[in-house]
């Protein structure tokens, strides 16, 4: 039960990041490495503002704006200066490292004694039975809001265009729209979500650390691919749900590997084997479905 709570807390927070990666990688078809530093950017903004007494919920919004700006810079570098997608992300990722340090003022900024998003009088007023789940509940509410808004957005005119750009940018151009501009829009949105994930993570851990973003991009990709792979043949499960579940499965694999209690050095190898197992299992299920159909 307790392990489950841990998995859900971590998995749900990271699912916000996975949703961001879903937009860049799946929708825009843009391998965006900005993610590795917009995640700690959100954390840095949220941490320093919380330390200075801002309401934690507001810090999340400011963090999203900061993340959006990071995406904007990547987008402009790519679209206006015609720098390759991977490289634009790398440039912003590299530069943001210093900016993150500047924002937080130091490489590691703890705030254990502050009211945070998941530790405040309101959350403490939940019924006792819900207390162990309080963090999960707070994060779940955020994830659900984001998911619903994102799904709604994807069905607006702007959302259509965003999907079209990754699908077939010729269509966007012949519709007299600037595909570069649409790409920038997508990058802003995606990095705002990633920064939100970083901010929520900082609120949960009550600490910002400059290195917390390392590997975010890889994590997001894995979550999106695991999720969409498992639900490939179920039309009813949309891609945002799939990304969220993918993220939780990823964390569950790590938790499982941890609780197997083997030699710590082997942990990552075991996690990798679990991923592979899930992907193969997913493929196997798909074949069966096809066989029945």
């Amino acid at each position: 039960m307790n392990v489950l709570i841990g998995i859900l807390e971590e998995g749900l927070i990271y699912s916000l990041l996975a949703l961001g990666v879903l937009i860049t990688y799946r929708v825009l078809d843009f391998p965006d490495l900005t993610v590795d530093s917009s995640f700690p950017l959100g954390a840095a903004v949220s941490a320093i503002l919380t330390v200075n007494g801002m309401n934690p919920v507001l810090t999340l919004l400011v963090a999203m704006v900061a993340g959006g700006l990071a995406g904007l810079v990547t987008g402009i570098i790519h679209v206006k200066f015609k720098v390759r997608d991977l490289l634009s992300g790398i440039i912003v990722m590299t530069g943001l490292y210093s900016i993150n340090l500047r924002i937080a003022g130091r490489a590691n900024l703890p705030f254990f004694n502050m009211n945070t998003l998941m530790n405040n009088p309101f959350v403490k007023s939940f019924p006792a039975a819900l207390q162990p789940w309080s963090k999960v509940i707070v994060v779940l509410v955020i994830v659900l809001i984001v998911k619903v808004l994102l799904d709604l957005f994807m069905n607006t005119k702007a959302g259509f265009l965003l999907r079209a750009v990754g699908d077939n940018k010729t269509v966007v151009t012949t519709l007299a729209c600037d595909e570069g501009f649409v790409k920038i829009e997508g990058l802003v949105l995606a990095n705002a979500l990633v920064a939100l994930a970083g901010a929520v993570m900082a609120q949960k851990n009550r600490v910002f650390d400059i290195s917390m973003g390392t590997g975010s991009m890889v994590f997001g990709l894995a979550a999106v691919i695991i999720g969409t792979n498992i639900f490939k043949n179920r039309q009813k499960v949309n891609s945002s749900t799939a990304a969220i579940i993918g993220s939780i499965i990823y964390k569950a694999c790590v938790a499982l590997a941890l609780s197997l209690g083997l030699v710590p050095q082997d942990l990552k190898l075991i996690t990798a084997v679990l991923f592979l197992g899930i992907l193969i299992l997913g493929n196997g299920l798909k074949k069966k479905v096809k066989f029945h159909a």
Binding site: E10, F112, P132, D209, V254, L258
Partner: protein, 320 residues
């Protein structure tokens, strides 16, 4: 003194075991942030310290060992899982300590940390060294003053000391600040070079070497992992590197006034025993290593043409 304390603790422990605890086995989680000789030594020392105080593996305690391999996400997950499964967590290095304290915030389980350079900056302790939370531990802050004194003795003419540090390590920042505060008293100026990853170390060395008379290391894992390159370049320039612990001196640094991690870990183990015996960890002030285990490398010294100062002749020569 320490031995007497330990004996008393052991005695009290033995008594309490007889009277109350009975045959109950305690689960202790050792959560290590990264793979590193110093941190490994902490772990060994910790287990020794607890055993000394009567908590013997397989007897009345069992250990769960985890290593986050410097992965921040994993650090959180290990901390959370241990917060559920263990009766006490020993967290090795600052990020792990913060994660463990945060994970135990709600259930109040004790966290004993070690290899944290600045528990106050990391918000693990208040200015008096105590905490409102159920946590305490040991600090491996460098004996910078002793180090500066030693460098002055080795290099009477030197004016500048170069320091490489990783901008992502808070510990390095606080160590650097200490250097800067204390250096003028010994007639030194500090020239710093920040890197964001290990791969930047060679370039940073090229940049800093012409400006300094020697290099002094922090306990900065990222920088120290590139020690071989640093020593190569320093030797070419004919300038010595001072280390921050014995392992670095063995690998080619001239000398070090450093922290000895086995005894740091042992002290941590003794503190953990105290907590297991019923003390509230936050009430116990964190313990700082006083340093003073001076080590030097006579081969490096003669290669550089530097004599070992008389007052340090009784230090440990790692080549013997």
């Amino acid at each position: 003194m320490k031995k007497i304390t330990a004996m008393i603790i052991a005695l009290v422990l033995a008594l309490s075991l007889c009277c109350t605890a009975g045959a109950k086995t305690l689960t202790i989680g050792i959560a290590q942030f990264a793979e590193h000789p110093s941190l490994d030594n902490c772990r060994t020392g910790f287990i020794d310290g607890l055993a000394e105080a009567g908590y013997v593996e397989g007897d009345n305690v069992e250990y769960i060992l985890q290593n986050a391999q410097a992965d921040m996400g994993l650090t959180q997950q290990i901390a959370q899982q241990m917060a559920q499964e263990c009766d006490l967590i020993c967290a090795i290095a600052t990020p792990m300590a913060q994660a463990a304290v945060n994970a135990c915030l709600d259930n109040g389980k004790p966290v004993i940390y070690t290899a944290v350079s600045d528990p106050v900056a990391a918000m693990l302790a208040d200015a008096e060294g105590k905490s409102a939370l159920n946590t305490t531990g040991t600090c491996d802050l460098l004996p910078v003053e002793a180090q500066l004194k030693m460098i002055r003795a080795f290099l009477p003419e030197a004016k500048t000391i170069g320091i490489l540090y990783t901008t992502s390590e808070t510990n390095s920042e606080s160590q650097l600040k200490l250097y800067k505060d204390l250096a003028p008293a010994y007639g030194f100026e500090i020239v710093e070079a920040g890197v964001s990853m290990g791969a930047d170390v060679p370039l940073a060395m090229d940049n800093i070497l012409p400006k300094v008379d020697c290099i002094s290391n922090l306990t900065d894992n990222t920088v120290v992992s590139y020690l071989a390159v640093m020593i190569d370049k320093a030797n070419t320039a004919g300038k010595p590197i001072f280390g921050s612990e014995i392992e670095q001196v063995k690998n080619g640094c001239l000398a070090a006034e450093g922290v000895e991690y086995i005894s740091l870990g042992r002290q941590t183990g003794l503190m953990a025993a105290e907590v297991l015996n019923g003390a509230f960890a936050g009430e116990i002030a964190f313990w700082s290593s006083e340093g003073g285990d001076m080590t030097y490398n006579s081969e490096v010294a003669s290669a550089l043409g530097i004599a070992i100062p008389a007052e340090y002749a009784d230090g440990i020569d790692v080549t013997k």
